[in-house]
């Protein structure tokens, strides 16, 4: 087990290294690094100083090593817009994005799991068909447009919920959180629901498919034959076997939620990483872009690694396979 974990860790580090090459090639070879790294408003002396500072007069392989070195120190250069280290800017906004993504994930599970379970256990009821049709709509509706419609209905027409920002925040563990205050919670509700829509459909469909796969199995028939209560069969035998695909998807989707929060944050002016990266792309604030991309790479590789670990913990067969 330890050996397979170490092997996966090495693989993960290798992926990160490969992605640094891609990002480096993208920024330094395809794009023009002088334009990318140096503020267009800089004067000639400043330009030359920065070209020397970033080592742009050096050969490519040396530039790559310098890029790696900066990476190790978490130094991506200063943002042109804010004039502060790019990584710091992103880390500052990380909690807001995490809060949004976790809330959306919770909504997706709390709504999607029971509905999927219901649709899977009673596939022929009309209510199940309505649920399944609804989930197709959830897949097809463009997230950003749903966001706008939510704003239109709940904020503009009904005046129930605010349209932008995080609202009042409270501190916990040295970080500001919205969900701790009433006002913050009101601000969180619409964006979280918007972000959750697609994932709710996904969790719902996966749960239903899983239930239908598990139900005909012998151990369910046996449990029935033993005379176990339906409740126990569903919550112990069925749900337990649904966990593996669900954990994978939930883990993978958490990353995609963070990526997709770009859209929701832009609509609701939620001050997270996603809004920052869109603003940065529009303003060509490249140090922030590079920092964001590398940050996401590390995040995704870490997530995939965690999912692998969860796998081994949840499914003993995976562990045996690794040993063999």
């Amino acid at each position: 087990m330890a050996i397979s974990l170490i092997r996966r860790l090495i693989q993960a580090l290798f992926v990160i290294l490969a992605m640094t090459v891609i990002v480096f090639v993208g920024v330094s070879v395809i794009g023009n690094p002088v334009d990318i790294l140096i503020n267009p408003d800089a004067n000639q002396a400043e330009r030359l100083r920065l070209i020397a500072h970033y080592g742009l007069d050096q050969p490519l392989w040396k530039q790559y090593l310098l890029f790696l070195q900066g990476l190790m120190h978490g130094d991506f250069g200063d943002s042109f817009v804010y004039g502060r280290p790019a990584l710091g800017l992103i880390l500052e906004r990380l909690p807001a994005t995490f809060e949004l993504a976790i809330s959306a994930l919770l909504i997706a599970i709390v709504v999607g799991l029971p509905l999927g379970l219901y649709a899977g256990l009673h596939p022929h009821r009309i209510s199940s068909r309505i649920i399944m049709s609804g989930s197709i709509l959830g897949f097809s509706l463009p997230t950003f447009w749903v966001g706008l419609m939510l704003v239109m209905v709940f904020s503009v027409e009904l005046h129930w919920l605010p349209t932008n920002g995080r609202g009042a925040t409270a501190e916990m563990l040295g970080v500001q959180w919205s969900f701790l205050t009433r006002d913050g919670l009101a601000h969180l509700l619409l964006p979280a629901f918007n972000l959750a829509l697609f994932k709710t459909s996904l969790v719902l469909r996966l749960t239903r498919a899983g239930v239908q796969e598990v139900l005909p199995q012998d151990y369910i028939k046996f449990a029935r034959a033993k005379g176990l209560a339906d409740r126990r069969i569903i919550f112990v035998h069925v749900l337990k076997n649904l966990m593996i695909p669900l954990v994978t998807i939930i883990g993978l989707e958490f990353g995609s939620l963070i990526a997709f929060s770009v859209v929701t944050e832009s609509i609701f002016a939620w001050p997270g990483m996603g809004k920052l990266i869109i603003d940065s792309i529009n303003l060509l604030d490249r140090p922030v872009i590079v920092a964001y991309l590398m940050m996401m790479v590390v995040l995704f590789v870490a997530l995939n690694f965690l999912i692998d670990v969860c796998y081994t913990l949840l499914d003993p067969r995976v562990r045996l396979d690794a040993k063999a």
Binding site: M19, G26, I136, S140, V156, G255, F300, V301
Partner: protein, 303 residues
């Protein structure tokens, strides 16, 4: 059975009437037929947009700023009726939607097909040659698939810069891996079948076996994925345009129209964002309905 001297006789096992049966199968679902009809209508509307739309929304001389932000059903001074209202530039929303559909469909179809061609070729090569080629390709595919599409697209746009063409490139790069993985999976199964062995025993050249024998039998999942990807690509293009990374303000796509309408939404002018969104929704839902049915009819194992 006589042995033909022509290897063509050993290509894909003939199944008389298979296509016809599949078409009949497809037509049995009312939802899929409705989707197909809607797609045909949408494509026709987009194709003939210059002929049927009341106004050329990309021609700034035809726009009258005085007609800006009129609600649906208003009439302009020149007697033109704005059935779906106008945007802040005085652009007729209906015309904007018809022209916007052209962009959306072009981006969707172009990127899905280019990605299908690249991904299928790569997947076939991986399955056919195996060994080092295969493991290298599949590493790359796995690496790519571990990142969500929108992130890959953002990454490409951050490097390439804004613009519709760059969105197409970004979508191709973000989507090819899905095809490669599926085609490889199917091809691995097909590779072991007798007709490939027969073709090999004729010493046909590798590329010929690959494209004339293996490819036709791996197409079912490609068709299903490509259909779904067109819908996904249209949605992503709209999303990226909404974020200001795609179409320009002067030649708006659906996503751009929705984006320009957003600031007015807060003051109650709903139609600028609402109607283009409905058009987008209808397009995506119809394509998905057809794709869903295709999946059932063609019944590929690993999609």
């Amino acid at each position: 059975m006589t042995i033909s001297p022509f290897p063509e006789a050993y290509e894909a096992p003939p199944e008389p009437g298979r296509l016809r049966r599949q078409v009949q199968d497809f037509l049995r679902s009312p939802a899929a037929v409705a989707g197909l009809c809607l797609i045909i209508i949408i494509v026709l509307l987009a194709l003939f947009a210059p002929l049927i739309s009341p106004q050329d929304p990309y021609d700034l001389t035809q726009l009258d700023i005085l007609d800006g932000r009129l609600p649906p059903g208003s009439e302009s001074f020149s007697g033109l009726t704005y059935y779906l209202g106008t945007d802040s530039q005085g652009r007729d929303i209906l015309s904007g939607i018809l022209y916007g559909l052209r962009t959306s469909l072009t981006v969707g179809i172009l990127s899905a097909f280019a990605a299908a061609i690249i991904g299928t070729t790569v997947g076939l090569i991986a399955a056919y040659f195996g060994g080092r080629t295969e493991s290298t390709i599949m590493r790359l595919v796995d690496l790519q698939l571990s990142f969500p599409t929108i992130l890959m697209a953002l990454m490409m746009l951050a490097i390439l810069g804004k613009g519709v063409l760059n969105v197409v490139i970004a979508l191709i790069i973000a989507e090819w891996a899905t095809y490669a993985r599926t085609v490889r999976g199917t091809a691995l199964v097909e590779r072991e079948k007798e007709y490939i062995e027969a073709a090999r025993s004729f010493r046909l050249p590798g590329w010929r076996i690959l494209f004339r024998h293996l490819l036709p039998n791996c197409l079912a999942p490609v068709i299903v994925i490509a259909t779904m990807q067109v819908a996904r690509a249209i949605g992503l293009e709209a999303t990226l345009s909404f974020l200001g990374l795609g179409a320009s303000v002067t030649e708006p796509s659906l996503g751009m129209l929705i984006s320009t309408g957003y600031q007015y939404l807060l003051t109650g002018l709903y139609w600028i964002s609402f109607f283009p969104g409905i058009a987008l929704l209808i397009t995506i839902v119809s394509i998905n309905l057809v794709g869903d049915r295709l999946r059932d009819v063609l019944n590929p194992r690993n999609v």
